[in-house]
Symmetry: D5
Subunit: 134 residues, 10 copies
């Protein structure tokens, strides 16, 4: 169950300048939704042999008043560990939660998932206009 | 024989935001057309020693109302396994079938084929205008 | 909680010849033991911010009468997902469980764990004498 | 259906010296056996969504009187394309067929298969004693 | 002696859509011109110890009515094998010959040559305007 | 304690032309701030087991009248060695100090930090408008 | 100043079996000795522009009764951070300290240091006889 | 002592078309200037232990009437071998000499130098406007 | 037509010590034999579209009284350029010619050929006993 | 002109234990001998366009009473910079000079030279018996 309440921020120490923060979180894991039903899937999955999903979440943003605290980000991503969720929903959900908490000038979230059955999936979602200096 | 009727879609879970989905299908295989004649080539080919083709199909799209269901995509690509088809036709055919089924805002299909006789071929076909945020 | 009862075997289809089977399971994950106490650590860990562990389990063996069934191996390794356990214990425990179930002529288990705090750990445990042909 | 009758040999052009021939066939593909039943699996598999297997077959041998003809080897490996067979059986079967046809002084066959569900499998089978010069 | 008469084309199977074809021919070889004189250099060169040139020819084009037939392209490139020619001339000559034969909407030829005396050379020539979708 | 007074410059030897200088300093190290308090952290950290940070500082600039002297840059970066500082502050501080000392036409500083707890951070800050020729 | 008193051990959880533990500590840093004099070099070095040394310490051992506690190892290696010491002495000193603390059946320490002036240095020291199973 | 008189050109064999020539000269070496004094540094340097500099010079240009002769370029770059010169000056000097000799439509020279004291330097200088087709 | 008379040697400058010389010749090319018939294949091949072969010849030896002269080795390998020859024969022939010319204490020749139809071939032939110090 | 008198040693700080020191000197350069004549070749070579040689010298040894001082080793290797010398002689000469100066228990010198005319050369020379623990 994603827990956005775990996310914390700190005051941007250089608010007078637009700069970019990038974080690669290479140890994201969640569970496949079972029978198309998302939610707490652990017990069902273990019985049926569904495979956990693994991937890297790549976050890039230009902070406004707030920066995302690194340790709280890890805890938040960890809260997907035993959750059954589709790739598309996970990436958009993470973007929504991070935007709501840190209100950045621009943010992009990429979910770069491991190969499943010979297919690698990468989902990219963006909030706000890309800055002129990109 | 390509079987587009195997393709399935599901409702885009974040239809309010343009986001990008990328899928690398690294285990695509088909057969060389024999004597310039495309179609079911297995029996002929086995007798004459024609080589199967291998490659990666890279699909990128911005979903509108529908997303492409991953397992059905694998089944659809699998239906090329015993089909004799030119690279150029295969890539454009896959793009046509995926567009017809999922009606995306934008889609690109790249066929990245293994070396044959010292030559590597890559075919790229696009449907729609590239989004402003690309 | 490791569940060795999930492991299944099938009859070695070529029992008359010594041959080698190698399996790389790159998506192993468990939890750090908390305060030196191993066991079901999820609730505690989530509160305290302990980091999950990730790694690759590399298994090599020479089958005797039985081979290890691949899907059951995945389920068994998955049962470490929410367990707090030290690296050294995990690798030796996996070796013990696999040996008890499949009684191989020789087996080696390597736990190749991701970097933690700038340190990468690799644990190697072996059962039986290495075959003459190694 | 593996067809060893496709294999051809030619006279070793340097029979007076022990030398080594190595061939990497990176485009091997077969089908998963369905419900544990090996055989011609195409129709069943297509209905049920079973995934084809892909891998590299690595063959090393010291020829005696005969060398394996390269094109016939490709045709032989191609005959596994629509066959449902376990990894362990495939590698040992290929070794048996090649040994029966070419009677080498020593031969090793390695099946190095693509990741399936996060697990990579490598099977190694050897015929004869490794040469002193290895 | 370059032999453009070896080049063949086939009708573009998807003429209604602009798409891109890329071919990497990694086994191009020609001879150094001797004493600044281009032409059939084999006999002279063998006597004087001039080194053959090796490289990769990378061709990218958007077909109009015709596509370049792959096998005929290999034969055409092979016709440089015993020809003494400068890098700059070879790349522009290949572009001219391919444009004359296939009349593409746009074409780029890159000659990416192996290191000679510690220097690597790459020559790039383009015909037509780059397409808007590039 | 960062010591910008260590930075030295020399007269730009080609002031009549805009050109770009790039420097990758791959051996940057500082300390984690303790309890959110930045400053001289060595004694506290050693007692509590906080981990030092490591990374690469990538500096790119277009010199105006002055170039940054390489050895003095190393000394300046070295002055962070026993300092507790956040990533965001370190990168912006380095940019400020370099701009103040060398007054470049344009400058970018990237802090590319090693993985910490499975997360890699990259911070990018820019001074001035990117040049037209970029 | 190296502080071996920081090293801690825990009871080997599988003392009945010889197994191997490998740890790569990629963020080792110390200082160059100044004027051939080893010791606390920070103040002197900063004045004279001596460069810090960086490298990876690779430790492999077969535990007897005790295993080395990972966090204490990091603290111990960290205690070299502001110490001026030669490569040869550092590696042998680390081996001595680890052997004295953990009394392993066999241990090897490799110091793999970054390039200095175009030269890369690797120092390898071993305690005890390599095990028969190596 | 750089000797631009060694540079030779030949007539552009395809002057009717703008095309690009790229040359990577990976074996450039010069000497550090001593005490900030540039010039013939060999004798002094050998006595004082200054380190030679190594790097790759990457040249890209669009020829007008003349192309740069490859062998003469190597001789010219070789004339820096025993010369003490700063990176910034070397790259701009090479650009000036090549432009004066070959009068290209556009030219870029990149000096990509080896790590010195943990810092890698890359200097980029350009002559003329980048072509529209870049 | 291989021309061993092109090979030259020079006196071993350190005949009192056994040392090893290794040469990687990465630009070997010959032609496929046509219809199983080896010999001068150029004219026939060009008509029928047979592909040239490319590969690397790796030579390692311990010189006795003579060393192989590098330029003459290149000329000798170049004499295979327009010759139709099987891989197995080429490697053994090269070994025979080099042994006859230079009479080394030990020599190994490896032919590491490019992929053909998805198969990579590596042929290894050895003359003499491997030295004790290998 | 090689100048072994530049080599310096220091007392082995751990003489009671056999340990191994490895040094990779990646920036070795010398000149080709001209017309088979070794010696000071700079002037002649510059006139005739002979190419300098580049490579890496890899030194591994087990010190007895003395260790090789790193800076003096660089100076010594630098003394080959303007010397015309064959690969075989250079490697054996370096081994002789290092053995005479440091009297190691065992030493190996490898000269790993850059590609020249499509050929890469590696020369390996050893002094003394390899240690039992290798």
């Amino acid at each position: 169950m994603p827990r956005p309440e775990l996310l914390e921020t700190f005051d941007n120490p250089y608010a007078g300048r637009d700069y970019e923060v990038h974080m690669d979180c290479s140890e994201f894991t969640s569970l496949c939704p079972l029978g198309g039903i998302e939610g707490d899937a652990e017990e069902l999955a273990l019985l049926k042999g569904g495979a956990p999903d693994f991937g890297t979440i790549r976050i890039t943003y230009i902070p406004a008043a707030k920066c995302i605290e690194l340790k709280s980000l890890k805890l938040y991503l960890w809260s997907y560990r035993n959750d059954g969720i589709f790739y598309e929903r996970a990436v958009n959900r993470i973007l929504d939660d991070l935007v709501a908490t840190s209100k950045p000038k621009w943010m992009r979230v990429i979910g770069d998932f491991n190969v499943r059955g010979g297919v690698k999936s990468v989902i990219t979602a963006v909030h706000g206009k890309p800055p002129a200096t990109k």
